[in-house]
Symmetry: C2
């Protein structure tokens, strides 16, 4: 497998932004775009865009710009668009169910194979996705699954430890609590409260 350990973290975080913007442009019928145009679209400096792109190769043509479709293909490949990542949801509450219903990501990064919940009575099927009791996770964990979406609200740290033991290496964390993980595991926090806190701080700072 390719190694791209040299892509800066800051750049990596912008890749999904580019991909989304490019998809939107494609929908609008735009076939060709220049870094300066794209810049106004995503609020990122043209130079930054060009430098970001350059980490993936020479994607554009001088004097011409970039081909939107080619870019989408490349980013799709880089960001797992053609991969079939197996995902699990841990916690089948309101939020977990909303995410299960959110079937847009099928064939984008992969598919939700199954879900787990601590309450055995929730076992069954939700939006055609099987839900198992959490205590069966050792048997039911999909082969090769590395990424989990965490929407539980109790026994959080214990569950995280268990997931890591079972091979999870990336966690999308919807809990509100702080969780501890070893360095080889990545956590992406999705905390609406934190985001609102940042927004409150920012909008206060401006005034």
């Amino acid at each position: 497998m390719e190694k791209r350990t040299n892509v800066p973290k800051a750049t990596l975080q912008r890749f999904p932004i580019y991909l989304k913007a490019l998809r939107k442009l494609e929908k609008l019928g735009v076939q060709r775009i220049m870094s300066r145009e794209l810049s106004e679209f995503v609020n990122i400096e043209p130079t930054t865009i060009r430098r970001d792109f350059s980490f993936l190769g020479s994607l554009g043509k001088q004097g011409y710009g970039y081909d939107v479709n080619s870019l989408i293909e490349i980013f799709d490949g880089e960001l797992g668009g053609n991969f079939h990542e197996k995902l699990i949801i841990v916690g089948a509450g309101n939020l977990g169910k909303a995410l299960m219903n959110y079937n847009r990501w099928n064939h984008v990064v992969g598919e939700i194979v199954c879900a787990f919940d601590i309450a055995p009575e929730k076992a069954g099927e939700v939006y055609q996705i099987p839900v198992y009791p959490l205590d069966q996770i050792r048997e039911k964990m999909p082969e090769g699954c590395r990424i989990a979406i965490l929407t539980i609200s109790s026994d959080i740290q214990e569950t995280v430890d268990l997931l890591i033991e079972l091979g999870i290496r990336g966690i999308v964390d919807f809990t509100h609590e702080h969780i501890q993980v070893p360095k080889e595991v990545s956590v992406k926090q999705v905390d609406v409260v934190s985001m609102i806190q940042e927004l409150v701080f920012e909008t206060n700072s401006i005034k």
Copy 2:
């Protein structure tokens, strides 16, 4: 109102992390903590922690450390914990409802005053929060509301423009599409697909 335009963006993004960790420590009965201990807890270098804290004043005591409760109070104040921010949810679908039910943030950053949905038949009340048809937003927009949570899936850009016109200055964006906003408006993306994409990229890069 105080001006803190000098707090680095990178630092600002860590404030909620500290606050959450401190709350957990408080729950565990920890009353006093040193930057070195906190460091292991949140995976941030002690020096970075001390420097981050110093932007809010001299919060600790040399030779002693920091008082957990004092820190929590200070961060609460800075991050809107004692403010009563008025929030609205735009889009009362599965996700919107899940967020409405998620009443934990009451009295943390503020409260969800009401929600809006494009489908008039969804108007009514969900978890005791009033839901109005989107076309009534001009009349029903709460006075002084600056922050909106966006969970709609159509007419996204149009809705964003409208929200900004009505005074919204911060958006928590759950849509999957790219949205454009003027510079004075902040957007916090919550895109599970993007996060998984980053995770896929990261876990691939390591190997």
